[in-house]
């Protein structure tokens, strides 16, 4: 089977998603078995009618690969699109038209589902296609891989940011009393947990951590925050963007009707996120000033807080995908396997797409310690797991006492 390799990116970008792209381009050109190396614009949408098309990466200046790797945002463009049956056939036709017989898709859960569907659609129509998925997600929720490229850098972002914001808050004692930091993570608390990795002392900030896996009891949580304020003069709360209340439902509804169905003067729904809800609630109930810190997409695009380990691994999974395709592998996702003793090292393997697609890995119970009210701490097993992914020591700050 000869033909061209098509590379695409899908889902929310990470700070190192282009390191995987760079690794793929470099290794696929080096492999010398692909007719052309093409990049699809805005994921699989590029192969559908009205899509943004593709570009030829065969002659991409390899001197620019490092700069590409250090660029945030998905450089090919990304998408969030589930292919219906007709679209799958259309994609295979587009592949046929462009002589694509190798496809590498850099993405998360949904993208692996798309890989699996295209693998099946090609088989159904007797079209020779090798498909390899390249893991990418700051959420760290893909199955079968020790961790996901993208997570280490977002974890470094939060471990650093939580300490920096805590130092600022402590300085403003008596004026700003509560800071609520909102991390991404709709279904898992991997990023919120990472915000604890920079703690300089046990019991230091962040004091309260809320994750999607653990329901929150608001009154008890409030008592805990009050106790922290008594003890420290201020309280730092880290919350995942989605947290469930023990009374059922989400802590802050953010559906089309917004919070409590309220609308602003223009008739628009007022959508308040979890951090806004918590800051309003705690600020009012305790009579203190509560701030929010909501970096949003910054946390997945912060090029200056990239983990060197994460960046290297993101490059490696891309390169491994190119080699696997060149060797004739198909229907797999590249995984990262690691050992942490005596010294952290990682390597790439492959797992059947069927074992990954649609699945989701939440924080295991062994990583979790749950306190009254639903605030979490994270075990030393979690720290042992996550620390090496941060790529070197965190900045050390001076505290005068």
């Amino acid at each position: 089977m000869a033909g061209s390799l098509l590379i695409a990116q899908s889902g929310g970008p990470s700070a190192v998603v282009n390191a995987s792209l760079a690794g793929l381009i470099g290794a696929s050109v080096e492999a010398g078995v692909f007719k052309k190396v093409l990049g699809l614009r805005h994921g699989i949408l590029g192969a559908l009618p009205g899509g943004h098309g593709h570009l030829d990466l065969s002659a991409f200046d390899t001197g620019r690969l490092v700069a590409l790797a250090d660029t945030p945002g998905a450089a090919l463009g990304s998408c969030r699109h589930k292919l219906d049956r007709g679209e799958r056939a259309a994609v295979i036709n587009w592949f046929r038209h462009h002589d694509i017989h190798f496809f590498a898709y850099i993405g998360g859960n949904d993208s692996m589902q798309t890989c699996l569907q295209l693998d099946q659609a090609a088989r159904d129509s007797g079209y020779e296609l090798s498909v390899v998925g390249v893991p990418k997600t700051i959420d760290n929720d893909l199955l079968e891989t020790d961790h996901c490229p993208g997570y280490g850098s977002a974890a470094r972002f939060w471990a650093t940011t939580a300490q920096e914001v805590s130092l600022d808050l402590a300085a403003m004692r008596g004026y700003d009393t509560v800071a609520v930091l909102e991390c991404m993570g709709r279904n898992s608390g991997w990023l919120a947990a990472a915000a604890t990795l920079g703690r300089s002392t046990a019991g230091g900030p962040p004091h309260i951590v809320l994750i999607p896996e653990v329901q929150v009891e608001l009154d008890k949580l409030l008592a805990r925050v009050e106790a922290e304020i008594r003890r420290n003069g201020s309280a730092v709360v880290v919350t995942a963007e989605t947290v469930r209340a023990c009374t059922g439902g989400y802590l802050a509804a953010s559906g089309p009707e917004g919070q409590n169905g309220r609308r602003d003067a223009f008739g628009h729904p007022i959508v308040a996120g979890t951090a806004d809800f918590l800051a309003n609630h705690m600020g009012s109930a305790l009579g203190v000033k509560a701030r929010t810190v909501k970096p949003g997409t910054m946390q997945r695009a912060a090029s200056r807080l990239v983990s060197s380990v994460d960046r290297d691994e993101a490059w490696q999974v891309g390169a491994a995908a190119a080699r696997m395709l060149a060797e004739g592998k198909s229907g797999v996702m590249v995984t990262l396997q690691s050992e942490r003793e005596p010294k952290y090292r990682s390597w790439c393997e492959a797992v059947s797409l069927e074992r990954v697609a649609g699945g989701e890995k939440t924080l295991p119970a062994s990583f979790l310690e749950v306190y009254e009210g639903g605030s979490c701490n994270f075990s030393s097993a979690f720290a042992d797991y996550a620390r090496p992914l941060l790529g070197g020591p965190l900045p050390e700050f001076v505290r005068l006492s």
Copy 2:
């Protein structure tokens, strides 16, 4: 006049506020004329009854000065407090009790007012006191100084962040369409303007910039955003936290009654900021998904985005304050003076506190270009002014085309 030197910090921290502290400690110990070098806890509050007291910095390990300089948050603790007449007398008594005859206050407008008041109060009570103000504010709004320590690093934060977030948004074209980034700055647009310094092409993101100095006409602004979306597929809006509407009042009210006096289920006011208001409004009116990026105190605490020029200058103004006090100067604030041709260099001078206290420097008209609707661009004169303060080139990102 012999006696001890007291150092304190006030107002919102910057990422380099402790570089000024380190410069002060280093140079004052070196000067050898102060009996002791003391640090006051939480600004001038430390000298009032019930305050957090002070600590002795005379023997501070000079090997730790660099690490202190690189620590965000005001390490001595900060405050926001206007002294009444009785408190001024109380502070002078506290100074007398602790043999303080030299006072260095690191802060912004209000802190310079406090310096002036203490200078006067000491004079009134015949107490020998030398007072020097050390400029610090990310807002860059102090008079008589070319720029303020703290601004360069916050400017670097925004110049970098605006590009990173724009790359992420462009990748998600068709899914996320508008991003609204909210900068600090209640009365001046210095930080919002800095967000444009990373633009790689004229007309590139950020596309819309709103500042407190220029009133916004919402309908015309919306038309402009719509045009940008047609042209680019997405629009990046940078807004100062406070923006005025041409119809009078603020774009988003955030007083005790919250936006439109609405309250949540707990009876708390729903306080929506400017970015939330704009994202809701634009998202609903244009039928697109609009995100907000609200890093809050991150922008003044981001140790990994410090400008090397800003950090060095913050250290220098601290050291200059110690030298001025040792030489018998009083009633002044240290200023930074600069020349930009043939090569950027800066040096410290002193200005009478009376010419600084209570004043505020907004963006001069020569730096501003205002478009219909109230969106701003900034002149090459602004870029020439601000670029050297960023401390070296910004990261260069790769755009595939």
